[in-house]
Symmetry: C2
Subunit: 200 residues, 2 copies
């Protein structure tokens, strides 16, 4: 591969970029030439940002969300209600939920979901750490894992552990997406929407 490029450094960059998800060799080459053609400061600040994210970012000691200190901003925030914990699979889900501006409780990031096929067991996700938080003044656990097989299995597993402790366990509503069209809804979503129908 390196032979194709008249610069080893360029060949290496194309290789490195093509390791990123959904970046094929053609896109990687286009990105590499863009970086090469642009000003050095732009390339250096991108390079530094990549390094910094690995050097500075760590996980919150309490909720396993991303942070740069021991505990994250949300766990720190005295205005957040500690009685409610919303359980998500990944740190990006916290960002998505926060963007609604609707939720005022705390979070717990599992870093994965149960998947027997991929050999992901309760020991591979932060389930034990969630259970350790149950001792506190927790009244409700909202399980916001993804609405797919792995997410549902994880929700079921956690609810079986938490409910016996007398804590309320809820799940994000499944139904028709807002702005969607009935005609384009899949059968499973439609069945769930019927099942979970609400009074008007």
């Amino acid at each position: 591969m390196a032979r194709k490029y008249s610069s080893e450094a360029l060949a290496i960059l194309v290789d490195e970029l093509s390791r990123l998800p959904n970046i094929g060799r053609v896109t990687a080459q286009r990105l590499a030439f863009h970086i090469l053609k642009g000003p050095a400061e732009r390339a250096f600040s991108l390079s530094d940002a990549i390094r910094a994210v690995k050097e500075k970012v760590r996980y919150c000691d309490v909720c396993w969300n991303i942070t740069e200190s021991e505990t994250c901003e949300i766990c720190h925030d005295a205005r957040r209600k500690p009685e409610t914990i919303c359980v998500v699979e990944e740190p990006r889900d916290v960002i998505t939920l926060e963007s609604t501006g609707e939720y005022r409780g705390l979070y717990h990031v599992l870093h994965g979901a149960l998947s027997p096929l991929d050999n992901i067991t309760p020991d591979d996700i932060r389930a034990r750490e969630l259970m350790q938080r149950m001792g506190e003044s927790v009244e409700e656990v909202i399980i916001a894992t993804n609405p797919n097989i792995e997410g549902e299995a994880t929700a079921l597993y956690l609810s079986r552990l938490i409910k016996p402790l007398g804590v309320r366990v809820t799940r994000l509503a499944r139904g028709l997406p807002m702005g969607g069209d009935l005609e384009y809804a899949d059968e499973v979503t439609l069945a769930r929407a019927l099942e979970g129908r609400t009074e008007l």
Copy 2:
């Protein structure tokens, strides 16, 4: 924007990545989380590769192709025929043409094409440097600029400069792409293919 992420370093990385061409904020965030979740060595080698490409890569003193030394591998190669110079717009075009394995001459990279609308004049591309090479034993200049308005204008401009020197000026054939279907060819390509038809 930074407020959305619980880490400043992550916010900066998403910003930096979304400055790349065709990388929107959603893709940038996905890439940033991929880098964050992966091993530190992977992130560091990507970071180093980006820096290295700006630090090591320079342009060939002769043909303006990318290289890491004063002159590029192709200009250095004694087996290449110096009588023929193939003129391209960008360094990536050299890679594309080399991948055919059909061309044994030298190159000249213009780093652009004439475009009055974008204010790109002959002084903005390496046209003067090409003319300076005409003193040598050059017999043919193959103009391989892109088959679009800017590329055609550049080809016309260069041929008017070079032809009076008694050097043969040719242009890559325009016609139907191999493996294509007549039905899907656009009118301009089809007209060019008719015009440039060859004896069987």
